[in-house]
């Protein structure tokens, strides 16, 4: 056998065996991986809309998903919006909860981020950042408070505290939420999803 045909046969065989093997492994782990992702989203929904036990996906487009939350009796507890946008280093995926009158952001959680460890990554920290997102006024645009206020009570209802040393990461999270709020209101006012009796303004 000539050398070149031997080279081709060996490389093809190695590739085929590896490929077949990997297809098997992918098949075995596929279900569990998608379960993990689903579980992560469900936990986030429960976290951002207090009192939620079940959820329903209402609307989905690229990097933007709306869920509704229900309590045990089946009445709506609010909506959760999952959105992805550009952060300081890489994309940030977050989820925020909003009450069913679309006037108040209940809470926010960060699902995925690759901000600078120790600085921008503090957007996932409750004490440094997330606690200042409780009960925010969602009727207009939210703004950043810089330098940050000492406690939640010192902030205006439409203000978010900036993380010291990570203004851009804080700003990016705020931008994603503001954009998503606009999108959410537009989608509901255009009647793209069925939401009963809401005055969106």
């Amino acid at each position: 056998m000539s050398l070149s045909s031997r080279m081709i046969i060996v490389l093809t065989t190695v590739g085929l065996i590896s490929g077949g093997f990997l297809a098997g492994v992918a098949q075995l782990t596929k279900e569990r991986i998608s379960l993990n992702i689903q579980k992560e989203i469900e936990e986030a929904i429960v976290e951002v809309i207090p009192g939620t036990t079940q959820n329903k996906k209402l609307y989905q487009e690229e990097d933007f998903t709306i869920y509704s939350g229900q309590d045990e009796s089946g009445s709506t507890t609010g909506y959760a919006v999952q959105a992805t946008g550009i952060g300081f280093q890489d994309k940030i995926t977050l989820m925020f909860g909003i009450d069913d009158s679309l006037k108040r952001i209940t809470r926010i959680t960060i699902i995925d981020q690759k901000e600078t460890p120790g600085l921008g990554a503090k957007i996932t920290d409750w004490n440094a950042f997330l606690q200042f997102w409780e009960d925010r006024d969602a009727s207009g645009q939210l703004t950043l408070r810089k330098p940050p206020a000492g406690s939640l009570e010192d902030l205006l209802p439409s203000e978010i505290n900036t993380i010291t040393g990570a203004t851009i990461s804080s700003q990016k999270v705020l931008e994603i939420v503001n954009l998503s709020l606009e999108k959410l209101k537009k989608i509901i006012s255009e009647g793209k999803i069925a939401v009963e009796g809401h005055d969106v303004n």
Binding site: F21, T29, G118
Partner: protein, 202 residues
């Protein structure tokens, strides 16, 4: 062909030929995922898995592979095991997999692995290659643990996530940033070299 005793074959990876401190291989994961002990350990174990199985496969099929396509064949074998490790972490250790980000797929280009195939597994028996892979992995894990322990304690005041420094301790943020990785590695390499010089003089 290596003629060392089995014990020496294993032990060389821990110190004499330690992949990080002596050979300066695998610097990218060494610097990137040693911010916390848990990610350092996970990287060490994932690399161990890939190194052991790649060495076993490469040493078993070495006679079938023409020299001209050996590197390409090694890479395909290595990439397959890396993908398996990545899928496994995603399925069973999701939070750790998320914390390690792109660095698990990047094990493919970790020089320790390709280096051992070319320098050892392609010239030695499967059994000896297994011992070599175990030794090199242990050396790699050891290095990652030393580095990540120093960085996590100084940078966050914790070890494996548990607070071990008192309230008086102000974390050195720089230690968990990339600069802290370079500083720690530099100091450790200096110490390793100093020890080496001292033992050689005696």
């Amino acid at each position: 062909m290596s003629t060392k005793s089995i014990g020496a074959e294993y032990l060389k990876g821990l110190w004499d030929e330690n992949p990080v401190f002596r050979q300066l291989l695998g610097m990218c994961p060494t610097l990137a995922v040693t911010g916390t002990v848990i990610t350092g350990l996970a990287m060490g174990l994932a690399t161990t898995f890939v190194l052991i199985f790649s060495s076993l496969v490469v040493s078993s099929i070495k006679k079938l592979i023409p020299a001209q396509v050996r590197i390409a064949s090694y890479i395909v074998v290595i990439a397959s095991f890396v993908t398996i490790a990545d899928q496994f972490l995603k399925a069973y250790f999701y939070p750790i997999s998320k914390a390690m980000g792109p660095y698990v797929p990047l094990i493919v280009v970790n020089c320790i692995i390709l280096g051992r195939q070319e320098a050892f597994a392609s010239k030695n028996s499967a059994g000896r290659s297994l011992i070599d892979a175990l030794g090199m992995s242990s050396g790699f894990i050891l290095a990652l643990l030393v580095l990540s322990t120093i960085r996590e304690i100084l940078g966050a005041g914790t070890f494996l996530g548990y607070q071990i420094m008192g309230a008086w301790f102000k974390p050195w943020t720089i230690m968990i940033l990339p600069a802290g990785a370079f500083l720690t590695l530099g100091v450790l390499l200096g110490i390793a070299l100093a020890i080496e010089r001292k033992t050689m003089r005696n």
